[in-house]
Assembly symmetry: C2
């Protein structure tokens, strides 16, 4: 499965859970197409590649589909995430309720500032960076969100990987790359979300409309 397909499958999965939550039992390719921003033909092709077949009279059983996709996506394990850097964006993510329906839980925060990690008002425990390795091991967490200032991002990523974190979602404007893995060691997965860069691309695409067709990222 390539990355584009993975994104689509994850979108179908999200949409299916929402449709089930509002009481629907059956779904059609065009419903999922709308939710994922693709055509119904793409949905049908994806399902045929995954050997998921519809019913004779058209449509798919939602519960059945959720079960199938869930096993394809390897769901079931709790998806625990830590947030490193509890400034405004980090705090907003710790409070964000939109992760829960997707089975993602923010389980702890980390910060270097004693004022931040001594503050008891956070929705999850916040620890000093010095306890990173210990807590990551205790919570058996493999994925972290980096919301530290730009200048601290590379160092934070390094510390996370040393502590055993394998997946990083980086919100700092620095582009982080996984370091090459030693033989036999697992290689880290890093996704970078650069908000300023996204905005700049939008401005660019508005200024030069010929770029727009490629612009629906």
């Amino acid at each position: 499965m390539n990355n584009d397909m993975l994104i689509r499958i994850t979108r179908y999965y999200r949409a299916l859970n929402r449709l089930r939550a509002i009481g629907l039992e059956k779904v059609f390719a065009h419903n999922l197409a709308d939710a994922a921003g693709v055509s119904a033909a793409v949905v049908r092709k994806d399902f045929s590649l995954l050997e998921i077949h519809g019913q004779k009279r058209g449509g798919y059983e939602i519960t059945d589909l959720i079960g199938r996709i869930s096993s394809i996506l390897g769901k079931g394990e709790p998806q625990n995430v830590i947030v490193v850097g509890c400034g405004r964006i980090g705090k907003a993510l710790m409070h964000y309720s939109g992760f829960e329906p997707d089975g993602i839980r923010i389980v702890a925060g980390f910060d270097t500032d004693p004022i931040v990690y001594s503050d008891a008002s956070h929705p999850v425990p916040v620890y000093p960076m010095s306890r990173l390795e210990e807590i990551v091991e205790t919570l058996d967490t493999k994925v972290a969100i980096i919301t530290v200032p730009e200048a601290a991002a590379a160092d934070t990523a390094e510390k996370l990987m040393e502590a055993g974190v394998l997946g990083i979602l980086n919100f700092s404007p620095i582009t982080l790359k996984p370091r090459p893995a030693a033989p036999g060691e697992p290689c880290a997965v890093i996704h970078n979300i650069n908000i300023a860069l996204e905005l700049e691309q939008i401005f660019y695409q508005l200024q030069f409309p010929e770029q727009r067709k490629q612009g629906q990222l």
Copy 2:
């Protein structure tokens, strides 16, 4: 210029501004390669496509490069952005100082909740949604960030486009698509940032390592 190249060029541009800020005058392809997460060969190829040539003894003048790339990216105009939905994430973005070096300014916020838009502690003015059209016209803003709850996202995007906004960066978990433009009308540019989806992809790629090569988004 395709989208991948645009992303790289924007990254070079950001790195160049930072290098100039710390007093450097000259830069080499491998410096920019590190900053953009690509190889030096890619940087050289991009520059050759853009007809930017290095000096005889190697390297590029930073100020010269900034000028060239800036005109390619169509910089110069102020890049004003509004934030719609002033919850935790919206507020964090209104306070975020990382946009300024890239010439991006959050100029106003919008919310439906009187408690939010009557609160005078925001770093920029926050208006009720009912004044969207008037303020967008007054400020001549073409780009908006959507940080409203999932259920309000599609409706918010519709209102923004009716008010004349052409570019949207959507943080809600709904995938928004630009509506087809009427003949002669400009088509909107929408980028979706789905944080839960990014995390799910990371978990998936960690679980199925054969996906990782394609995973460095």
